[in-house]
Subunit: 354 residues, 2 copies
């Protein structure tokens, strides 16, 4: 119950233990196509270029900037947590002129300020669900007001846990991670790119490994000339993702969001009942990631150690400027179950002596 990785769905574990086939085997290519179709459904998009990047969520972030930022490009980045900060650093290394729009950690970004930050940004980049604070940032107003900018959204902690609607929200580039609400171990980063963004691909980005021009030729057989080998796809992890997306879609996206919402609400009520204070105001709170203030006089690391050692439950420490001040409790993917919420609340009551 940390901020990810979550526990995988049983179907995912089975898939990981299955036979390994070649990355150019027809059976694998069919699995990859099917995985990308499932990703389209989960991202709610018709984007042709939708694929799992062969690295963790941060590789997806890097792919999202490295393929679209040209030196000197003005890039507006919303910062209200660790992952907004990381976006600034990644964009900066590609030579972007980064225009930061900050909000206090634990509070949401103001869409109007993001839209007014620069007269003609190349990109507006925002984290949908800030894993470091548990805040949900609004995306829809940015899509409506983005003008000529590309809208780039981090959905690492949101995808599968709360509604994400890439096409309806006019998101141009979105990436995610497998280890949060998708219920798959970490290792891949689902990525989707709008046709509008495809027209602005950097021709020869600094990264060969993450070059979407090359990846597209392996992932899609659109040219009719067959797939072009790029790198050896991580076949076992792709099979795991395929299975996790299958479990999610079999349940139904709406049902999964409802399950996350219910577990998050139970957890948050239970924490308040224990006399603890939540960091984020109710209307901006994520169900899948809850930040709770460490009460005065309590050794926060000792509580985490005790939960892990005596109860087998992981919760996360605070990150960045919230280090030492909060705990982060995840309720994501297959971990988002009532029984897990009640087990944690019971254990925490004992450990805190309340």
């Amino acid at each position: 119950m940390g901020p990810g990785p979550s526990n995988p769905y049983p179907e995912v574990t089975m898939a990981l233990a299955g036979p390994v086939v070649g990355h150019l085997d027809p059976q694998f290519l069919e699995l990859l196509d099917s995985t990308n179709d499932r990703l389209r459904r989960v991202f709610a998009t018709a984007n042709g270029l939708t694929l799992p990047v062969s690295g963790t969520g941060s590789a997806g972030m890097e792919a999202s900037f490295v393929n679209f930022v040209r030196p000197g490009d003005p890039v507006v980045v919303g910062v209200n947590g660790v992952f907004g900060e990381r976006m600034c650093e990644v964009a900066c290394r590609q030579g972007a002129e980064v225009v930061r729009v900050d909000a206090d950690w634990g509070h949401p970004l103001d869409p109007a300020r993001l839209l007014a930050a620069h007269p003609s940004p190349a990109i507006i980049a925002v984290v949908h669900a800030e894993t470091s604070t548990g805040v949900r940032n609004e995306i829809e107003p940015l899509g409506r007001g983005k003008g000529t900018a590309l809208l780039l959204v981090d959905t690492v902690t949101s995808l599968g846990g709360i509604p994400v609607a890439v096409d309806d929200w006019a998101v141009d580039i979105a990436y995610s991670g497998t280890q949060k609400c998708l219920g798959v171990p970490p290792g891949l980063s689902p990525l989707t790119v709008s046709d509008r963004a495809l027209g602005r691909l950097v021709e020869r980005p600094s990264s060969w490994y993450l070059d979407l021009n090359l990846l597209a030729r392996y992932v899609n057989d659109s040219s009719g000339g067959g797939r072009v080998y790029h790198h050896t796809a991580p076949v076992a992890m792709v099979a795991a993702l395929h299975a996790g997306l299958g479990a999610l879609l079999d349940e139904g996206l709406a049902a999964a969001w409802e399950r996350h919402a219910e577990c998050g609400a139970l957890l948050q009520e239970g924490l308040v009942d224990l006399g603890l204070e939540l960091l984020v105001q109710a209307e901006h709170r994520l169900p899948q990631l809850t930040t709770v203030r460490v009460p005065g006089g309590v050794d926060e690391a000792a509580v985490r150690r005790d939960l892990l050692g005596s109860y087998g439950i992981e919760i996360g420490a605070g990150a960045g400027q919230l280090a030492g001040q909060v705990w982060r409790i995840g309720c994501m993917g297959n971990t988002a179950r009532r029984r897990n919420v009640f087990a944690l609340l019971g254990a925490l009551r004992e450990v805190l002596g309340r």
Copy 2:
């Protein structure tokens, strides 16, 4: 029996199906430390910075260049196959002045020509085992003659299958892949960096994801201030690598090399007995990857389809300039077994009607 991925060791499959723990869980950090120790033994090095990069072999290649190349640096690259070509491309994107030293595909590089190619190269880069041709390039003379240059070696297809001696050969940067002779699915790239190379790390490389300054602070707790979170490690794949390295070290490196040598020799003799012609001369041939010429009048793709469809055996097509002219047959990791060699030879005899 393609050019990788190979079949995983049973211990690897078991590890993949094990419980997922957090990337900062003490149990996982212990597993990571142990994995890096095992990698040191397999690389035959005492290098402090030895880790699995969170991407496939090509991510290891990119990490090896992106962290050490400064714009304008002269970088000598040996090219006698697809992966030497790829090194040129990756180095070039980092602004290197690439000095190519070519050899005909199917023939080894000449170490003397590599050493004489530039008066003071920053880096000399070579692929140890060219997966596209089945040629073994000599590394030892390059270590002796490298002068002030860093020696960068691709050991993707060699590590675990033939001797690799990072320290004895004075290799400064070596990367590998999990899916060849290590018997683990694709997804990670073992990397090791000498202390000499550490002194020349680029301070802020274009890639944040592959930045070794940051990765070192997560992988090693050397500062005494604890690990610093960078990205979420792919915990399931690290567990798989740990198990695969365990299987390899339990067998013993020398025994594993001997097994690869024996299987490679049996395969190559068997192919010649079938009247087929091998691409590479005996003294430069890899046991774990054999290239064999497609006989005149034979539909090479049909043969591969038949082997896969009727016998469940994958072999690889030619790559790059050898496309359509050769097959590539892997005998790597857990696939390097006499029974697999004989199964393939029997099937190939039937399919070719010999």
